[in-house]
């Protein structure tokens, strides 16, 4: 597949006339909004990549008069910090995206679940919210937004755990189905979208889907905000068109000595240098919620893997056995191999365990531990053993 190269884009942080866009959106029918979002090909920007238009369509199809739009601002994936920047700089576009989603689905109420680590942003977010509510009241549209805070639990970024948390319970994911679009927050039809997804949706309505599909590839339309950290001379937030290879990314952001890039955070994939050129960043290659961490040759990939496993062991909600026990055993297992207490072939057993967790865990947390585990163990086996 031919790559599109690396192109910087300014869509998310670009300032727009929110009143004008919302007035236009509120005059559109639910079907018109949904068909424009579908046409744009937008997929969720939180990491899972579910088509946003479909989510809205399913929620809109529900007959219940009470529905919710929930903004997932529980950005906790290691290496991801773009939602904080979006909230900090253009929160009015998040509010706007929520109101447009509300219009599309027939929801009058929205919740933003903000991670506790970002509580310091609240005063300014409320100030902007006050201005926003005043503006849509002037337009003559009925829609309200409330904040709910997280308290330091990574798992609450999982949609159904997030609902549990808002409802006042432990953040333990629910069984699916039913999916949120039929039974979500307070068991009502709910569309839950990432911060960046909502801003992108507002930009699609503002610019039209035809403009948006010009960006990206067939499987990964548009652009994406990347959170770039690790061994790079220019860490920070960059909005890039989707469809570049890891090599092109490294040429721009690497320090000349990049040996691996972790795409998609601790629950994502580790791409080694030999696969940079062939790996596309996007849904056709390695998907990402935006987290891009670069490691140069001075880094021990054992330490990286150990850090991730320690993270998952702490953040597993403990509800289902494959994830709770699996995380602990993977961590203990790599420690044993490193210390020489277990043979190197024990790593193969651990990979099998990670594969079992993928099929047997209840939610995305346990299902994704194997992504980083497998990709690091397979590509940097000698660093794990010696």
């Amino acid at each position: 597949m031919k790559s599109k190269g690396l192109t910087k884009v300014d869509l998310i942080f670009e300032s727009i006339d929110a009143r004008e866009v919302l007035t236009k959106a509120f005059s559109m029918s639910s079907e018109e909004i949904i068909s424009q979002v579908l046409e744009s090909g937008l997929k969720g920007r939180g990491g899972a990549g579910f088509p946003t238009g479909m989510k809205w369509k399913f929620t809109a199809a529900e007959k219940d008069p009470e529905k919710y739009i929930v903004c997932n601002a529980d950005e906790g994936e290691p290496g991801t910090f773009k939602d904080r920047e979006i909230l900090d700089r253009v929160v009015y576009k998040v509010y706007g995206g929520m109101a447009i989603a509300g219009k599309a689905m027939g929801a009058k109420k929205g919740y933003i679940y903000l991670r506790g680590e970002y509580r310091f942003l609240l005063p300014q977010l409320y100030l902007e919210l006050h201005k926003f509510q005043k503006m849509i009241a002037e337009i003559g549209y009925d829609f309200s937004i409330e904040y709910r805070m997280g308290s330091g639990a990574y798992i609450c970024g999982e949609e159904s755990a997030l609902f549990e948390s808002i409802e006042g319970f432990r953040g333990e994911p629910r069984n699916k189905p039913p999916y949120p679009t039929t039974s979500g927050l307070f068991s009502k039809p709910t569309s839950i979208n990432n911060v960046e997804t909502l801003v992108t949706a507002m930009m699609i309505i503002a610019r039209g889907p035809q403009e948006y599909v010009k960006l990206g590839t067939k499987d990964s339309r548009g652009s994406k905000v990347f959170s770039i950290s690790g061994d790079t001379p220019i860490p920070g937030i960059f909005e890039l068109e989707l469809g570049m290879t890891v090599q092109e990314f490294v040429n721009e952001f690497g320090d000349g000595d990049t040996k691996a890039v972790q795409v998609g955070g601790a629950s994502g994939f580790c791409v080694p240098r030999k696969k940079f050129a062939e790996t596309i960043i996007g849904f056709e290659g390695v998907p990402t919620g935006g987290s891009m961490k670069l490691f140069n040759s001075s880094r021990s990939m054992y330490n990286v893997l150990h850090n991730y496993l320690d993270f998952f062991t702490e953040e597993s909600c403990g509800q289902c056995t494959p994830c709770r026990v699996g995380c602990q055993q993977l961590l203990k297992g790599v420690e044993k191999v490193k210390k020489g207490e277990a043979k190197s072939t024990y790593l193969n057993e651990l990979v099998k365990l990670a594969d079992t967790m993928k099929v047997a865990s209840k939610c995305g947390l346990g299902q994704s531990v194997g992504n980083a585990f497998r990709s690091i163990v397979e590509n940097f086996r000698e660093e794990i053993i010696y």
């Binding site: 991670r115 310091f120 409802e167 950290s229 601790a266 850090n307």
Partner: protein, 154 residues
Amino acid sequence: MYQTGNMVKELAEKYGRKRESLMPILQDIVKKHNYLTDEAMVEVATELDISAAEVYGTASFYTFLDTEERGKNVIRVCKTITCSMKGKNNIISTLEEILKIKVGQTTPDKMFTLLETNCIGWCHKAPAMLINDMPYTDLTPETVIDVIKGYMRK
């Protein structure tokens, strides 16, 4: 130990006596007192008419809803990969040295508690830490000392 006085009752009135008010109520108590005492949790349970086990069960799930005594200023140093790569250990040892406590402990004057935490979303400005709600980034042993001295003067 602290006395809640009328606080729990007032919070129950402010948020409403329903299950979904539990998190905001617990969060507000922690914001003011930094941790939850058994007494406070029992009081919340009484106000919301749920069992104390439900309150403790929920609180103990969340890292920031501490059920052990915490100091006036809770320091949480990020230990996730980028901060770890960029010198988190130096930050911890500097903090341990000036506060004369280890990770997990509280100073005898109850001014500071030192903890580690998972990714707080400042990887591009690592190493980073939170003191209560406030993030501090691009830390060096020198800047950490300045920050802590600032809190000591408060």
